[in-house]
Each structure stands twice: as C-alpha cells, then as structure tokens.
C-alpha cells in the first residue's frame, strides 16, 4: 500500500503532463497524417506561440490564454501562407524539398525569437499559474489540469470537425488517397493549406500551455519537437487517438522513470520506451 500511495503522484502527473505533450504533438501528427511530411519546424512554431503570448502579456497586459484569440488566427494565417506558397511548391519537387523548407523555417523562427525576445529564459506566469489544489495525497498545480482538459477539448473539436464538415472530410480523404481526392473535385493544394493552418493554430495553443507549465527559450523548440516525435511514434503517426494515448504513455514513462530511477533518468526512460515501441511495433500503438 505504501508503494501504491507513493505511485499515485507520478501516475497523476504523468497523465496530466501527457495532456501537454498531446497538445504539442497534435499539429505534428496532423501535418504528417495529411501531407506525409515531418514538420521539423513544429517545435519552433510552438515556442513562437509561447512568445506571442509572452508579448501579449508583457506589452498589452492580456492573459496568455485569452491572447489565443489573436495568436491562433495569426499562426493560422502564417501556416496557410507557408503551405500555399512554400510547401505546396516544394511538394511539386519532392518530399525531401518540403523537409528542407521545414528545416529552414525552424532556423528562421528560432532566430526571429532570439532577435526579438533575447535568448533569456521566459515564462508565462499569470496569478493562476501558481495555484494548486489537493486531491487525496496528490497536490496538483492548476496549469497541469488545464493542460489535460485543453488537450481533451481540442482533440474532441478536431474529431468533430474532421467528421462533420466538408473540409474535414476532404482533409481526411486527401490524407488517405491524394489521387482519388483530386478526382473527387478536391483542390488538394487548398486542403493542405487548411490542414497546415489548423496545425499551426494548434501550435499556438500548445505554445501558451507550454509557457504556463515550463520556462522556455528560443531554442526550446528542439527539445519539444523531439518529445512530440516520441509521442507520435508511440501513438502512431497520423492517428489522432494515438496522439492522445502516446502523450499519456510518454508522460507516464517520464514521471514513473523519474520516480523509480531519479529525476535525471526520466527522459532516458521515456526514450527507451520509444526505442522499444519502434522495435516491437514500428507503426505505433494505433498506427495503420
């Protein structure tokens, strides 16, 4: 019983942290699912989202979560433009070209953040960021709970959007068979642009909750890109449910690894898990 009681905290934290990881990985998973390109700039775009909220908070005094009413449309528009005018043209050459474009974007956004906001560590700390509450023996910071709730809400909205709207169905169709989608009258270039734009709006959300949970610097994107990779590898690239489960599993591996082997080992355990999954089930838990 002693052990079980001690385990409660890392399990609860693992699941809550999984919510944040899901949010971060969702855009990466969506872009890969639809366009089969791994957006290596995703982490940097998430961090760009964190900085937008930071700017809104420090310059305009707007709450980070509320600032999403500006951050999401802005990243949506940037995403639409990037896909429409850069990536779609790169696709016409090859997927490798698209990957290079993403790599270039990564460098551009990283340096942009560094120039504007300096390399110093920042964080989003509105008053409620320090709140916490107790459930039994576990003391839960409010932002961790917000991470998970937001992830669940965003997932649910995305699922309903993909199921119910023409555009959602078209995104789904284009991800399953591009040629057939073209022959059904779907302008796949436009659909791709919307998919990338939506993924970027998710990056804005992920950026805010990341900033509420952890401090960040302009180069933090790389670390979170790798975590997002881990999440989608565990869950299955392109699977939405897989992204949620992958986030939880990754979060749990990290917190339980930390509990049993000490804080320094937590990411080590999480990546060992990624290796094991790659070896045993390379398509991921929910991969097709």
């Amino acid at each position: 019983m002693e052990v079980l009681a001690g385990l409660t905290t890392p399990i609860v934290f693992g699941i809550l942290l999984g919510g944040l990881y899901t949010l971060i990985a969702l855009g990466l998973s969506l872009v890969f699912g639809v366009m089969k390109v791994i957006n290596v700039a995703h982490g940097d775009l998430v961090i760009f989202g964190s900085y937008l909220a930071f700017a809104a908070m420090t310059m305009l005094g707007i709450d980070p979560i509320l600032s999403l009413v500006m951050g999401m449309p802005l990243l949506f528009v940037i995403g639409f433009g990037v896909q429409r005018f850069l990536l779609n043209r790169a696709f016409a050459v090859s997927l490798d070209a698209a990957l290079l474009v993403c790599f270039g974007l990564s460098i551009i956004f990283q340096n942009f953040c560094q120039i504007i906001w300096t390399p110093f560590s920042r964080s989003l700390k509105p008053p409620y960021a320090l709140e916490s509450f107790s459930v039994g023996v576990v003391n839960i910071p409010l932002v961790y709970l917000l991470d998970l709730v937001t992830a669940l809400v965003v997932m649910l909205l995305l699922r309903e959007f993909l199921r119910r709207t023409y555009l959602g169905k078209a995104i789904n169709a284009a991800s399953q068979d591009t040629k057939a989608a073209l022959l059904m009258g779907i302008n796949t270039g436009r659909v791709y642009a919307f998919a990338f734009a939506i993924a970027m709006a998710f990056a804005a959300i992920a950026g805010v909750f990341l900033g509420l949970t952890y401090p960040f610097t302009p180069t933090s994107g790389v670390a979170f890109l790798i975590i997002a990779f881990g999440v989608v590898i565990v869950g299955g690239l392109g699977s939405m449910l897989g992204t949620l489960i992958g986030g939880m599993v990754f979060g749990l591996a990290q917190t339980l690894g930390g509990y049993f082997l000490g804080a320094v080992a937590q990411m080590f355990v999480a990546y060992i898990l990624v290796f094991v999954i790659l070896a045993v089930r390379p398509q991921g838990i929910f991969g097709r």
Binding site: K169, N172, L183, G185, R288
Partner: protein, 239 residues
C-alpha cells in the same frame, strides 16, 4: 442516338517525363453515348483518361468539353464542369464510412446543392450501399467497392463519367450487375466513356469503341462494324 458532341479530344501528345505515352490521339464522345476505350496493358488508355481528368496535361493538341478548351484546367476544376473519373482499382477511402465516401463525391460547389437528389439516385441504383452506409468502405467486397466508387463518382453530378478498368478482379456475375447499372446511368442522361481490356465484353456493352495500341488509336467505329473488322478478329479473338 443524340449527335451533339460532348467531348472532343484532338491530336494530343502526352508525356510521362521524357517518355511519350500518347501519340496524336483523337477521340469524340457524343452526348448520351456509351463509348469503350479498348487496349492491352500500357496502351495508353488510363493515360488518356487521366489527361481528360486534368491529372496530366497534353504537350500538343486540345481537349474540348461542351465546346470549351479544358486541357489546361486542374483536376478539381474538371470535376466541377461535369467530368467525373472512377479510377482504376476503385480507390474508395478505406477508413471512411460508405456514406462519407459518397458525400465527399459531392465536394464541388455545384454538386453540394444536389447532394440529396444524387444520393437518392445512387441508393436507387445500388440499394446495398444504403444498407451499408455506416460501414467502413474497406469492409465492403470488391464488387460493392466498385459500386461505391461508381456512386461516389455520380455524387459529383457529372455529365460525363470516365470509368477505368471497372471489371478488374471482379466475378462475371458481379460485372453483369455493374454493366446493367451503366445502362441505367445512361438512361438518366449521363454519358459514359469506359476503359476495358476485355474486347468481347466492351463491344457488347458500348455503342462505339476506340482501340488503342502503344499510345495510338488504331481503330474506331460502331461496335457492330468493329466486330466484323478483320483486324479486330485477328488481333483480339484469335480467328
């Protein structure tokens, strides 16, 4: 038989990269006809359909639909003006439901307005699709998937249906139903151009036919004439 020209392909050359797949191909489809495009593997039949659909563009020559040049349009624009291709291998969206597959067929703006009406037509033609509307497309049999592919194509509200190798991998008894459905589709005012390897079957089901060999049209005419043609007999029936 109606005489108004619906589709006119004139002297097109089409390349896959540096490989020339079509040589000076011409073809006419009149409104209300069922026309067969016959030929062995790699004779250019699918390339011709894909060029009409806008997936490929001709290097030379023109494609006119209802009198307008369409050879520079993109595939989604071609669908909107009323040409729908049912691709080889059916290519239904496997993890979408039967109903969602049909709805995605009505994606173009013009077809959306007539969605309910066209859905009713599809269910009348293929009642099995209505029964299975909530199943995932990948759970259907080959014949049912071909019906779904046809239904999905009809949902785009086409004037001209392009059908690529409908019979591939299907049992003769299933094919009979599909060809019967084609006749009914024609009754509803939709013109059909279909690609087929089976010469005997094509000459039975179509009004006119074009025979292709290595990227060229080598023979064309009414099916009755073609059946009598010595060359066809020799090349395809072995008599």
């Amino acid at each position: 038989m109606a005489q108004e020209t619906l589709l006119k392909v004139s002297n097109i050359d089409v390349f896959h990269g540096s490989f020339q797949a079509l040589w000076d191909v011409s073809l006419v489809v009149k409104r209300g006809e069922i026309v067969a495009l016959i030929g062995a593997n790699a004779s250019g039949k699918s390339t011709l359909l894909n060029t009409i659909s806008g997936l490929l563009h001709p290097a030379k020559g023109s494609i006119e639909f209802e009198g307008k040049n369409i050879s520079v349009l993109d595939p989604f624009q071609i669908v909107t003006i009323g040409i729908s291709q049912i691709p080889e291998g059916r290519r239904v969206f496997p993890t979408m439901t039967v109903l969602d597959n049909l709805i995605i067929g009505s994606y173009n703006r013009k077809a959306r307005a007539k969605k309910e009406q066209n859905l009713k037509m599809v269910y009348e033609l293929f009642p099995i699709l209505k029964e299975r509307k909530n199943q995932l497309a990948k759970t259907l049999s080959g014949g049912e998937q071909q019906m779904l592919a046809l239904g999905r194509g009809l949902m785009s509200d086409p004037k001209l249906l392009l059908l690529d190798e409908m019979s591939l991998g299907l049992a003769p008894i299933v094919l009979n139903d599909l060809y019967k459905a084609l006749k009914e589709i024609r009754e509803r005012g939709i013109t059909i151009l279909f690609v087929e390897q089976n010469v005997r079957r094509s000459l039975k089901e179509a009004d006119r036919a074009y025979i292709m060999e290595v990227g060229r049209v080598v023979l064309s005419g009414d099916v009755a004439e073609l059946r009598e043609e010595e060359e066809v007999k020799k090349a395809y029936f072995g008599v």
